[in-house]
Symmetry: C2
Subunit: 398 residues, 2 copies
């Protein structure tokens, strides 16, 4: 693709104005928004407001005056629009791990087995194994599959977008198979929300959790979210019965009465500073057509793959068609290559044993940046600068 | 007590210099640090640094470069000193509700019943009831007692300081009775940490959780902490097996291998913005002798009680001797009185049905402020200004 063609892509990009809402450091091409989104300006401002005004000036009164008490619902409603469900059916609370635990416990109360596919994001399996041990549930591991199939009426935790391959599951097909088999699917939207046009309700999804610090740019470790379709939530008993999920937390009554709807999935007091930053970050998505976001992410990734194709690296992620916002290239010295790229200001990440992962957040990346990132990778490979021993010292934890 | 005597108390107060570390709004006497501590200046600065520098500039690299990955342990070690246990035995993670769940699940794995006293902070009982239902445990409710006694080898969740009465449990006596009965106590330190000289290890406490947004001033909804004595932690299987509690989270291995020590009580990714504010807030306590903090809180409360004694209000909290940092006065129109006080700039809180609760954070309150707060209460009662209908509209949620 010529430089003019790339320039034209940027000029015709309907999402181009979104870039100005982010405050990215200069000299950096950030291809890791799939791990930690960068701060929207509004999130930084809101954090300042929440800390210096609401906490410092308002003190305890801010639970009411600044609506901290409703913030889990307020932020949830914003996420609801992005994933295509009713505003009142999403709440922000706890972490993805804790929320998977709550959900899997509630849904398997009828004795159904817990189920996870091989190659699923490991923590999803860890959480199910802990629950199985605690509550005497059966846990089955089944092969990863493109074709929906259930051998038994189980509770399956499944990523909508696979964290390595970026494979995108067909929600409607899976839900239809689940209904036929008496199974339930807890969709893990961590690598999907903010980059995929999920349309959960339209596709029949009933339960989901997700991460808000990746494409949603909510800040490091920003709290997770939970979606349950309204009529379903009334019959679910969430086991971590903390006061924030109580129908009347400040009555301090002795008995636990779950709040109506998805609010019962709250447990303890939410981390307001982190939650406020997330709430503001979500405003960036206001009025955004998620279809455009998904299409742009895919176009950015396609450009990157096309431009690096001559290197002959194995593409370990879905090469064409709908997929998540990232791609993975396989290379046995991948860690060193990613380090060499970081030294050049191109930030991607590495997943053991040999995957170089690059994410294409559609809101702040330009086609020009992605082309330049691809060129940097090409140079690093051709010059073999990754062989510099400095790039192979494993000092990064994440 | 004369005005001179009060002045002398402030002049001789060894904790007087701590006030300058807080940025309190003018015109306010804040007697609700037991619900939400005010921001230490260092916490506001740190939040700014974490958001604008670490997140904005450092992006994903801050997990390593800014030590986000270790922050749960770093903050935990600071709390450890305050509660008198080894630095490596405390971690910050999740909420109090979630942590009680993890602990009670792990400790009752051998079949012991779960146990809670009547009048305990309600969420502690809610969480146990949820766990009992999920994991088929027995849950006993026993009468609240000053005298340690166990009828069976159970797992008891007990507040060190009662949220209403401020009664302070005798850790050593309870632990000794627990050991004799084969029982375990999960100490809920929420109303104790930062105001009581707990000396957990010296007194034989083995397990504790606590809240960091009250006397620790960590910020609204700041994450909770967990303490387990080192040798004990190795045998505990925490059921919410998230990746942050894994021995090697970034190996992405299929099997869950719990991290050594208390780190296994971590689950998902911690909310870094909230955690960073807490970490900085804890530095205010560096070098503080907790005995002095406890003594000052008690002296402040004594002054308040003494000065309001002529009003003849029932003292619903421990009237003399060691106790937590707050007092409760009973009055059937307590909500209106607390509202009238707030209008005068004296912030306390109300706990249904009729308790006015006032907290005496030792680090930022002066004896003079407490005397003035008592005088405001006396005036509100004598003038009956609380009868103004505006003060009786229940608009506050918390």
């Amino acid at each position: 693709m010529t430089e003019d063609a790339i320039k034209a892509l940027d000029e015709n990009d309907p999402l181009r104005p979104y870039r100005a809402r982010f405050d990215l450091p200069s000299g950096v091409i950030y291809l890791d928004g799939n791990s930690l989104g960068p701060p929207p300006r509004a999130a930084l401002e809101r954090l300042q407001q929440t800390a210096s005004f609401e906490w410092r000036q308002g003190l305890i009164a801010s639970w009411n005056d600044a609506r901290w008490i409703d913030l889990s619902n307020i932020a949830g409603a914003k996420i609801a629009r992005l994933i295509g469900v009713a505003a009142e059916d999403v709440i922000v609370a706890d972490s993805v791990s804790v929320n998977i635990f709550k959900f899997a416990a509630a849904l398997s109360e009828d004795g159904r087995a817990l189920c996870v596919e091989t190659g699923e994001f490991p923590t999803d399996g860890y959480v199910l194994s802990g629950l199985a041990h605690l509550a005497d549930r059966t846990l089955s591991s089944v092969p990863w599959s493109d074709a929906p199939a259930f051998e038994e009426p189980c509770v399956l935790v499944k990523s909508l977008v696979h964290y390595k391959t970026a494979a995108l599951a067909d929600i409607a097909a899976w839900e239809s198979a689940a209904l036929a088999a008496g199974a339930s699917i807890i969709w893990d939207l961590s690598h999907a929300t903010g980059v995929i046009d999920c349309r959960l309700k339209e596709n029949g999804a009933r339960y989901a959790v997700g991460c808000s610090y990746k494409y949603l740019n909510g800040g490091p470790g920003a709290p997770s979210f939970v979606y349950v379709a309204s009529p379903e939530s009334e019959r679910l008993r969430q086991p971590i019965a903390g006061w924030m999920g109580h129908a009347a937390p400040f009555d301090f009554s002795g008995d636990y009465v779950p709040a109506p709807g998805v609010k019962r999935f709250a447990a303890g007091t939410p981390p307001i500073l982190s939650l406020a930053a997330l709430d503001a970050a979500l405003d960036v998505f206001k009025d955004l057509d998620m279809r455009l976001a998904e299409e742009k992410a895919r176009a950015l990734a396609d450009l990157f793959l096309q431009r690096t194709a001559p290197l002959g690296l194995e593409v370990a992620s879905v090469a064409a068609g709908r997929r998540g916002g990232h791609v993975c290239l396989e290379f046995n010295a991948g860690y060193a290559v990613v380090s060499a790229l970081i030294a050049r200001g191109v930030i991607g990440d590495f997943r053991a044993p040999d995957l170089m992962r690059f994410g294409f957040s559609p809101l702040f990346l330009s086609f020009d940046e992605v082309a330049r990132a691809a060129d940097h990778l090409s140079e690093v490979m051709k010059t073999q600068e990754w062989r510099d021993p400095a790039f192979n010292i494993r000092k990064r934890v994440t």
